[in-house]
């Protein structure tokens, strides 16, 4: 993949596989937690708050897993940008370049929403502020949808060309 020296001096290239595994591991936790959290919202939207403790646990896991997965992805990014996208995808499979750009941009745009879910798990009392519950549910659904999109997009990009 790298025609010259391995990695060509790119940051974290030597640990790219470890980073990819950790990034994928974080994504697995994230997709599970965000899906469970979004499913909990159906109870909230019906005014049933009996599973509040479980919901708040999912929200905290989503928040932490999102930030960790995001940070690991950011560390892996130079290896991808140079050796996957720069030397391969842009030349031979440009549609996957666009797909990855969309994935990273959507991940950035949703970061604040994911962190907000975790922070609100500490302060939100759904029984006292039912009007805010709808906003909270929409936030949960947005995070879940973006996580699903990013996992599928990530798998498709890796299927086109991995970090080696």
């Amino acid at each position: 993949m790298a025609p010259c020296a391995p990695g060509g001096g790119v940051l974290f290239y030597g640990v790219r596989r470890l980073l990819l595994v950790l990034h994928a591991g974080g994504s697995i936790v994230l997709i599970g937690a965000s899906t469970h959290h979004a499913l909990q919202m159906r109870h909230y939207l019906r005014g049933r708050f009996g599973r509040e403790k479980l919901e708040k646990t999912y929200a905290k896991v989503v928040s932490v897993a999102y930030v960790l997965t995001f940070a690991l992805g950011a560390m892996l990014y130079p290896s991808y940008r140079v050796h996957v996208r720069g030397y391969y995808l842009d030349r031979f499979a440009p549609e996957f370049s666009g797909l990855f750009d969309l994935k990273e941009t959507y991940a950035s745009l949703t970061l604040v929403v994911a962190v907000a879910l975790g922070a609100l798990a500490f302060t939100l009392r759904p029984t006292e502020t039912p009007a805010l519950v709808r906003v909270y549910a929409v936030m949960s659904l947005i995070v879940c949808a973006v996580v699903w999109f990013n996992v599928v997009a990530g798998l498709l990009v890796v299927s086109a060309h991995g970090v080696g």
């Binding site: 790119v10 440009p94 907000a116 302060t123 502020t129 009007a131």
Partner: protein
């Protein structure tokens, strides 16, 4: 007993994050569309460059995200602090105000998703030049 002049804690946190989210979206979109100067990372020599357009091969995502995060943190922090007392605190006691903030933040998010969804899937990438090995250069 809670102070009637201060809003509920969750309303303040909600407002802070909704403001932060809206500011993040506007900053990200504004910097990308307006080609504002951001920090570009040069992956081969590990240097940073503040520019509208980088000289040579560079990555803009770090700088764009960091700039938007900084703006969002500042905006969210100010909103949280301003929500403790005063006019904003009075407004935050009404759920309709927080819902209006949420609608604004949601609209910005929708515009972001639509704009970047369209441009990034319709952009033709320019491939980087093939790397030259030192051995070949000799």
């Amino acid at each position: 007993m809670s102070d009637p002049r201060t809003p509920d804690a969750s309303a303040r946190v909600f407002a802070a994050f909704l403001a932060a989210r809206a500011i993040f979206g506007l900053a990200y979109l504004g910097a990308a569309v307006g080609r504002l100067p951001v920090f570009w990372y040069h992956p081969f020599d590990h240097t940073w460059e503040l520019a509208r357009k980088p000289a040579g091969l560079a990555m803009g995502w770090y700088g764009l995200t960091a700039a938007a995060l900084l703006a969002a943190a500042a905006g969210g922090g100010i909103t949280y602090l301003a929500g403790a007392r005063g006019p904003l605190a009075r407004r935050l006691r009404r759920a309709t105000f927080v819902l209006a903030l949420a609608h604004a933040g949601g609209l910005v998010l929708l515009v972001d998703f639509a704009y970047f969804g369209w441009t990034l899937t319709h952009d033709t990438p320019k491939p980087w030049p093939e790397p030259k090995c030192e051995a070949e250069a000799r």
